[in-house]
Structure formats: structure tokens, C-alpha cells
Amino acid sequence: MAEISFPLPDLGEGLIDATILEWLVAPGDQVERNQPMVEVETTKSALELPSPQAGRVVRTYGEPGQSIKVGEPLIIFSVPDDSAGIVGTVPMEEAPRRRVRLTARPDED
């Protein structure tokens, strides 16, 4: 397993920090990419940040009411070593699912 740290991004044009309103995930949670992760408030607006990737949450930074500076750690994920490198996600191997049945019969002439 490898740990990946995600810092607070610049949420506007030149904002320098954001205040944690509520964490929607907790250490130990398995999260999917784009899953709502945390609600924060900046001097411009309150907004919900989606998870940048899939993984298990190792640690979150900041309690509700606390301020975090842009570029400082926000959350740490644990991911399998064989997960996708920098871009994308490893496709899940699922049992094939179908809705279409073949009703036509080949004419054997």
C-alpha cells in the first residue's frame, strides 16, 4: 500500500485558505473518486469538495471551524501499490452483465 497526500487546492482566484465546515468522510472509510469529501467555506462561498481519487482515508486535517492554508495537507489516502499511477483508475474486473438476449437464429443453408 502507498499513501498519497492531497493538499487543499486554490478554490478561487488567489484564495489563500479555507475553513473546514464538515468532514463527510472519516479515517478508515473507503471512498470513490468524485465522492463528496468535505464541506469548506472560503471568503467567497461555501462548497463541497469531491474526492480526487479512490482509496482508503488514512487521515484528515482540520476540525470544523479550523482554517487550512492552500497547499497544506487536507487528506491522506492509502491506495494499493498496483493502482493507476498518476492519471485515471484501475478498471474493476466485473462479471459481464447483459440485458440483450439473442433471439435470432442463423439460417443454416
Binding site: 499511477g85 484501475v90 478498471p91
Partner: protein, 328 residues
């Protein structure tokens, strides 16, 4: 026989290592291929084993990567450049078409271009724009290039070893959606790396596919068998030149064909495959060749790609259409 279970990443890594070991003129270059080992870890450990003079990072400039490769090839080296993602090949298209593809022709054989360009290709990994494109039709249209795509770890190892031994430029399209699945690889296989291969023999209809669509077509073949339809799957492998003999032999037996690819439909490689089958099998075909493809839109963001890439149901519908067709 020396079979080992490995992923396509590992099979490609092994093929590159074996190439570097056997060919002292072979070089690997590209963005992050050295220290990092590539974003998909395909070149992992190679810089350490073979040295930074043979496996090296380049600036973020695909045109430069290919221009450098053309020059190195003229100087007697055998470059194996990587373009990190399909969509990043576009900035290098000028070098690929105007230099790489025709230097051998232009120089009357004085400067052959033994360049194997690796391109992680196609969609399926929920990546952003420029990370899910299918460039086979574009490159197959360029005189002087060969184009190939492996469907599984065995093909990846065999085809990369073979491509890297050619004196012609090869565009090597790696299906990134299939990088992680493991399968047995025989490093000493006697199976020919040339032409197409019948991935599953069948009887009623031939599915023609390449890259990641081969695995999906094999799933479809399993499902169709439940309905009594015995599907043959042809893994085309070489997209230029296309193995017309294997295609013709298969469709002459099954008398129906469906070609499946991720790229847009209009002027996609499926059109070429359909034309070849029509030319060679016109009198035996029971239905027009069906195409199940991506759509004529820019490749969508990851959240929508399942709607874009041919899925099991769309392929089954394609089979249904060729089975239902009756001559008027």
C-alpha cells in the same frame, strides 16, 4: 516452456528489458520513463538497470521526442520512444507523418527508421480529456508506418519484441484498460507475431476487434453461447498492414461479421475492415458487415465513457442485426 503469470505492464517491461539487453543500439526515451518508470510503471527499473544514457527522461515536448527519435535512428540507434498518452501524440503528428513515416522512402533506404513508438491508448480508466483516444485510423492512413495493438500480456510481450526488432517505424498502441489484468506469458512462445489471430474459434458470426475490445468480445462470445450462437473472435493485432487472409478465412466460414472498436465510427478502422471483408467475401456474406463503435464526438470525460465505449449489449445487438438480416 517458461510460462509466468504477469500483467501487461510487466510483460511490456520484460519485453523492453530483453530488447535493451539484446540490442545495444536500443534506447528508451520519453516523459517520466526514467526515474519515475512511466506513469503506468511500464519502464520501471529500466533506467537503474541499463543506465540513464539508454533510458532517459525528455522535456514535455512530444514533437521533440519524435524528432530526436528520427535523428537517433539516422545515427544508427534504435529508439523506443514513449508518448505518455494517446492524446499527447497530436503534438508529434508532424514529426510522425512528415519525417518518421517517409524518411526511409525519401532516402531510398539509406535511412531506415527502426523506431517503435509506444502509446498508451484507448479509454476505460476514467481519465480526463486526451487520455482515452483511439488513433489507429489516423496512423494506419500514414504511408510508411506499421500499427499494432496487443490484447493481452502474451501478445504484449511477443508483439513488442517483434516490433522492436523491425527496421520500420511501428506505432505500438497499448490498451491501458488492460494494463493490470494478469495472464500466463510464455517468453519462448513459438506462436507467430505476424498477422491476426483467432482468439476464440466459432461458427455463426465473426467478431473483429483489437486492443481492449478483444477481451470484451470474448465476454460477449461466452454470453452468446448461452443463446446458442457460436461466436468467433478475431484479434486483428496488426492494424496496418491488416491480415486479409485470416479475416477472409474466418468470415468465409461464418458468413457474418461484426467489427468492434472504440474510436469514432466515421472513417474509423472498422470501415477499412468492412471494406476488405466485402471485397473478399461478397458472395458468401449473409449480411452487410456491422460496425459497433464509439461515436462521432470528442472522447468524453471519464464519467461518461461507459456510454461511449462499445458495451456488451451494443455488441450483442450488432450480432442480432447480422443474424436477422435476410436478403430481399
Amino acid at each position: 516452456m517458461s510460462e509466468q503469470m504477469m500483467s501487461m505492464q510487466q510483460a511490456l517491461n520484460r519485453a523492453l528489458a530483453d530488447t535493451l539487453r539484446n540490442d545495444p543500439t536500443a534506447l528508451i526515451l520519453g516523459e517520466d520513463v526514467g526515474t519515475l518508470g512511466g506513469v503506468f510503471r511500464v519502464t520501471q527499473g529500466l533506467a537503474k538497470e541499463f543506465g540513464a544514457e539508454r533510458v532517459f527522461d525528455t522535456p514535455l515536448a512530444e514533437s521533440g521526442i519524435l524528432g530526436l527519435s528520427v535523428g537517433l535512428a539516422m545515427a544508427g540507434f534504435h529508439p523506443i520512444p514513449e508518448v505518455q498518452f494517446d492524446g499527447f501524440a497530436y503534438p508529434a503528428v508532424n514529426q510522425i507523418i512528415t519525417q518518421l513515416g517517409r524518411m526511409n522512402y525519401r532516402s531510398r533506404g539509406v535511412f531506415p527508421m527502426p523506431v517503435t513508438l509506444r502509446v498508451p491508448s484507448f479509454g476505460g480508466i476514467r481519465a480526463p480529456e486526451h487520455h482515452g483516444e483511439s488513433l489507429e485510423a489516423l496512423f494506419a492512413h500514414v504511408p510508411g508506418l506499421k500499427v499494432v495493438s496487443p490484447a493481452d500480456p502474451q501478445q504484449a510481450y511477443s508483439l513488442l519484441r517483434y516490433a522492436a526488432g523491425l527496421s520500420d517505424p511501428v506505432i505500438f498502441m497499448e490498451p491501458k484498460a488492460r494494463y493490470w489484468q494478469k495472464a500466463a506469458v510464455d517468453m519462448d512462445t513459438t506462436q507467430s507475431p505476424l498477422g491476426a489471430r483467432i482468439a476464440r474459434p466459432g461458427k455463426h458470426v465473426t467478431l473483429v476487434a483489437w486492443g481492449a475490445m478483444v477481451a470484451r468480445c470474448l465476454q460477449v462470445a461466452e454470453l452468446a453461447a448461452e443463446d446458442g450462437i457460436i461466436v468467433e473472435v478475431v484479434d486483428l493485432r496488426w492494424l496496418k498492414p491488416i491480415d486479409e487472409a485470416t479475416l477472409t478465412e474466418s468470415v468465409t466460414r461464418t458468413r457474418r461479421a461484426v467489427v468492434v472498436h472504440e474510436g469514432p465510427r466515421t472513417a474509423g478502422l472498422g470501415a477499412e475492415v468492412a471494406a476488405l471483408i466485402s471485397e473478399h467475401c461478397f458472395d458468401t456474406l449473409k449480411a452487410p458487415v456491422e460496425r459497433v463503435t464509439g461515436f462521432d464526438v470528442p472522447y468524453p470525460s471519464g464519467d461518461l465513457e461507459d456510454e461511449y465505449i462499445p458495451n456488451i449489449d451494443r455488441i450483442l445487438f450488432g450480432i442480432q442485426r447480422v443474424l436477422e438480416h435476410r436478403r430481399g
